[in-house]
Symmetry: C2
Subunit: 323 residues, 2 copies
């Protein structure tokens, strides 16, 4: 309910997900807002509305809202996973509230110190690589970053079939010894692991190497949004130039289609289906607040992959084996 394009795009995406993926979807939210959006005014087969009276808005404080709005759609959705009424949750609203609801209602996996968001980072002409953590845990310790690395590797295998994912520690330089105190201590902790590639840099984003970039949720969130801003600025520049003269406008008729297709295939977050919250005792997929129907379908597809791939069991084993 809380997203920028909710509930319209979410409902449309849910209906498409049923058709395309053969999944059953529970929609949590205000019935009076959702039901009129159905063709024929009634939920189609495979879609069920679970009425919730409250909404956590994009601007609401996540922690406070989860406490005060017990009947919020995102909270009830997380409870459905906890109670076994749903196999996975997909949220495209207030990210903090989605993470918080999952964490508080599903609980943490035993042994996991803190959850982490694994976000796919686009790599042109390849599958994405992963950034872990992109915003769940803003103040981190070296031990937590080690867990993020382990969970990220397991998830990279599940999601992209990378057999032996290598991990880079995001830092301000490649050389060992680079970094702030957190990075220096984390480097010592990771050093010697066969999957540890050493420090990585911001310039390693979108190159595909290493497959997993580990950082605290503060740095990860800033870097992720900085990249999005850069891509947006680049796109703005390109399309402004294409529209600048009669000659370029003519050329644009030819290249705009292929350009948009390439962006959709390789850069658009809607294509990747969102991020996964790792370390909680259930499947929680976090989508952009501005998700389109297509993004919701892809998020449902990712949720299915996580359920079929036994994400939670995988994370439990990963943390147990490390302990």
């Amino acid at each position: 309910m809380g997203g920028d394009r909710a509930p319209g795009e979410i409902v449309a995406g849910a209906i498409q997900a049923v058709d395309i993926l053969g999944v059953e979807v529970l929609l949590f939210g205000r019935e009076d807002a959702i039901t009129p959006l159905f063709p024929n005014g009634a939920a189609p087969a495979g879609v069920e509305v679970i009425g919730c009276s409250e909404v956590i808005e994009m601007s609401d404080d996540p922690a406070r809202s989860i406490r005060s709005k017990k009947d919020a759609s995102v909270v009830r959705c997380a409870e459905a996973v906890r109670d076994g009424a749903a196999d996975a949750m997909v949220g495209a609203g207030n990210t903090g509230a989605t993470m918080g609801s999952a964490l508080l209602r599903m609980g943490r996996i035993k042994g996991v110190a803190r959850p982490a968001v694994a976000v796919p980072i686009p790599v042109p002409f390849s599958h994405p690589h992963l950034l872990v953590d992109a915003g769940a845990t803003v103040d981190a310790s070296p031990e937590w970053l080690l867990q993020f690395a382990l969970m990220g590797r397991a998830f990279s295998r599940l999601r992209f079939g990378v057999e032996n994912p290598m991990v880079g520690l995001l830092s301000n330089g490649e050389e060992p010894g680079k970094g702030d105190e957190l990075r220096k201590k984390t480097f010592e902790l990771l050093d010697g692991q066969p999957w540890f590639k050493g420090n990585a840099e911001g310039r390693d984003f979108m190159t595909g190497h290493p497959e997993v970039l580990v950082t605290d949720g503060f740095t990860g969130n800033v870097a992720l949004k900085a990249m999005e801003a850069a891509l947006k600025a680049a796109a703005g520049l390109v399309f402004t130039v294409l529209g600048s003269t009669d000659e370029t406008k003519k050329a644009a008729e030819v290249v705009t289609g292929p350009l948009l297709q390439a962006v959709t295939d390789y850069l658009d977050p809607d294509t990747f289906g969102g991020a996964a919250l790792l370390g909680v005792d259930g499947v929680c997929i976090i989508s952009h607040g501005s998700s389109s129907a297509r993004a919701i379908v892809n998020a449902c597809s990712l949720a299915i992959d996580c359920v079929n791939g036994n994400l939670v069991t995988l994370m439990k084993e990963t943390i147990q084996n490390a302990g």
Copy 2:
């Protein structure tokens, strides 16, 4: 001497700077490597070579190298500013060594706790805005970030003529209360300042608002390089698409020129002349390790602006008035 394209591009840039800017340039480095690069094999008018026997390479540890290589070109260059033999230094080699040499040889301005790198962040169709700190001080305190904000504002005025630069605190969300411990404490310290716009996000990069983004050098460095990586990936995607079919290749003949011109005008770091190290008792301009001759000319131009604008005096007054 230490840069990726040194000394060739540096020497070429120096010669152009003399011609275009009417400046006198001292070139610090190995005479046997530099002199053969001059047309006619001798330094042209306005250029003087100061022989130095050692080079700090890109891969060298900055702190250790500065201690052990007393005759390194970058160290001697900083000493020339300290001693009044030069008005400003421009370095396009090992960034850490450039910053370290400036800091250790010129010294810190009285009252400045830590130096900060002010990097211009491109804003399409506008002048750049500033990111402070982009890598000088990786572990920061709230009080240091306040100084970065003050120095950044003063520099924004000097460099871009922004009359009343607003400052955003880079965080993982706009709302007050967002951020890690450092950000929360810094927010309290900045709150109430008439120039403080509150938290900013990674998505504010390249939009031009606010004019100054303040962060610690670790986060700033990661974000800066992440943006560069994103722009590079976007450019790669665009030019791959343009070269993909006979039809797009034909269109590319028309649009490639304007596209490259727009990139040069608005996105290319070579255009901006590099970053300024704020808080040291002298003018130090840090250019990309891969700087072209054009970048060196622009860096010299920025250095001249900083000298003519009395950067050091401005920083001294800024810190004094804040104290």
